[in-house]
């Protein structure tokens, strides 16, 4: 169990960031579900409750999601159900249970870059930017590629557009971590295929996405894009599945994801 020596509830982001950077063991508290599983000795726990970062709203052509928004809000918010074929609600709906999703936060889920993350894979298939207090605003892909630095995740920005998307995950039992997850999206015939829980962190299959975008989705290119995704990304082995199994799953899920997006388009 983790311990917290001191606890603060800063009134603004600058104060929160200053306390975070003051000492190595000062730590931001999200919903605490993940922190609780570890044994961290936290010097000052930084509770962001007063910063009003729990919201989902439309702003300047984006959907803006505050870092303290719960995964349950992602699942139930009308704006997210109405956009991108509800890919974000779909991605979080199998994470443990309703009570759990009521407590855990978007900021922690994205900032932590968990390999098993369902949400990150879905966000990666959309036009997502993250906003950090110190490092500023950047595409999610850049954030994921960056080495981990102490910072404060403030909010997400997702470009509001007509992107059609689909999310699929494969679990050995319901509410377990995914063995593999896949998100596929398309906007103006430009495709994005993202694969997570490989079990390392989610990544975009650049070559397979380009193939579909350039040649269009036919039964041959769909097969080829699914195969190419499973070849261009790397897979590993853990207790949930072997690398070979994941590679085979990837091919099946990507194909299914593309077909789902095409079905959305024709609706």
């Amino acid at each position: 169990m983790f311990t917290i020596l001191d606890l603060v509830q800063p009134d603004n982001l600058a104060e929160a960031y200053k306390i975070l950077s003051d000492k190595r063991n000062n730590t931001i508290l999200g919903g605490c579900a993940f922190l609780k599983m570890g044994k961290k000795r936290i010097n000052t726990g930084i509770d962001l409750t007063k910063l009003k970062l729990n919201y989902i709203q439309e702003k300047d052509g984006f959907i803006e999601i505050g870092a303290m928004t719960s995964l349950r809000d992602i699942e139930t918010h009308p704006l997210l159900k109405e956009h991108y074929n509800g890919v974000l609600p779909q991605s979080v709906r199998d994470i443990i249970g309703v009570q759990f999703r009521n407590g855990v936060t978007v900021g922690a889920s994205v900032y932590s870059k968990y390999g098993f993350s369902d949400l990150i894979t879905a966000l990666l298939s959309l036009d997502t930017e993250v906003e950090l207090f110190k490092a500023g605003r950047m595409p999610l892909t850049d954030f994921l590629a960056k080495p981990k630095e102490k910072d404060l995740m403030v909010r997400l920005w997702i470009k509001k557009n007509m992107r059609q998307a689909s999310y699929l995950s494969f679990r050995n039992s319901s509410s377990d971590y995914a063995v593999l997850n896949v998100a596929v999206s398309m906007l103006n015939n430009c495709w994005t295929i993202a694969v997570g829980a490989r079990p390392s962190k989610a990544a975009i299959a650049i070559s397979a996405s380009a193939l579909l975008s350039l040649e269009g989705a036919t039964s041959e290119t769909i097969e080829e894009a699914a195969k190419r995704t499973s070849e261009e990304l790397s897979f590993g082995t853990n207790t949930r599945g072997t690398a070979t199994y994941r590679k085979a799953l990837c091919r099946a899920l990507v194909k299914r994801g593309i077909m789902e997006v095409l079905a959305c388009k024709s609706n």
């Binding site: 606890l7 609780k36 599983m37 509410s175």
Partner: protein
């Protein structure tokens, strides 16, 4: 640190540690219906409501209950008794350890979902584990309770 909260419609002031979790605080003040099993956010036994939303009290810092309305099953004596009778009539309870958390989730679902389908009921309650019964009796009981059988 002192927190002030409303617990089952009664305002209380409690002293809590920075790293204390709500399940422990509630149990230490006699709310023994709140069970703790996995203590890792996986089983749902510790479910209570915070401002009307079901939460895992084993994973909520007690400090975060400050200014909030917490409800445990003791706050719903009538509903709990009614549903517990259906549970027992359907043979859906053995040791009963999971029941308080489970009932809190069923009541939350009743507020949130209108005429839920079987798939929706099962999905809503995935976070409540039961080691004894195999869930079919619980499902029968819920359908009777919600009148969706």
């Amino acid at each position: 640190m002192q927190i002030e909260l409303t617990i089952n419609d009664k305002v209380v002031k409690w002293e809590v540690a920075n790293d204390e979790f709500l399940a422990d605080t509630l149990r230490s003040h006699g709310f023994l219906s709140v069970k703790k099993a996995c203590d890792t956010s996986c089983c749902g036994l510790c479910t209570v409501w915070m401002d009307g939303k079901s939460m895992l009290s084993c994973s909520v810092l007690s400090l975060r209950a400050h200014g909030k309305k917490i409800t445990t099953i003791e706050g719903f004596p009538k509903e709990a008794e009614e549903f517990a009778q259906i549970l027992s009539a359907e043979g859906a309870e053995q040791c009963g350890f999971c029941s308080p958390g489970f009932i809190m989730s069923v009541l939350a679902m009743k507020n949130e979902l209108v005429n839920p389908t079987e798939e929706e009921i099962i999905h809503y309650l995935t976070g409540n584990l039961c080691r004894c019964t195999g869930y079919m009796g619980q499902l029968r009981a819920i359908k009777i309770y919600l009148g969706v059988a």
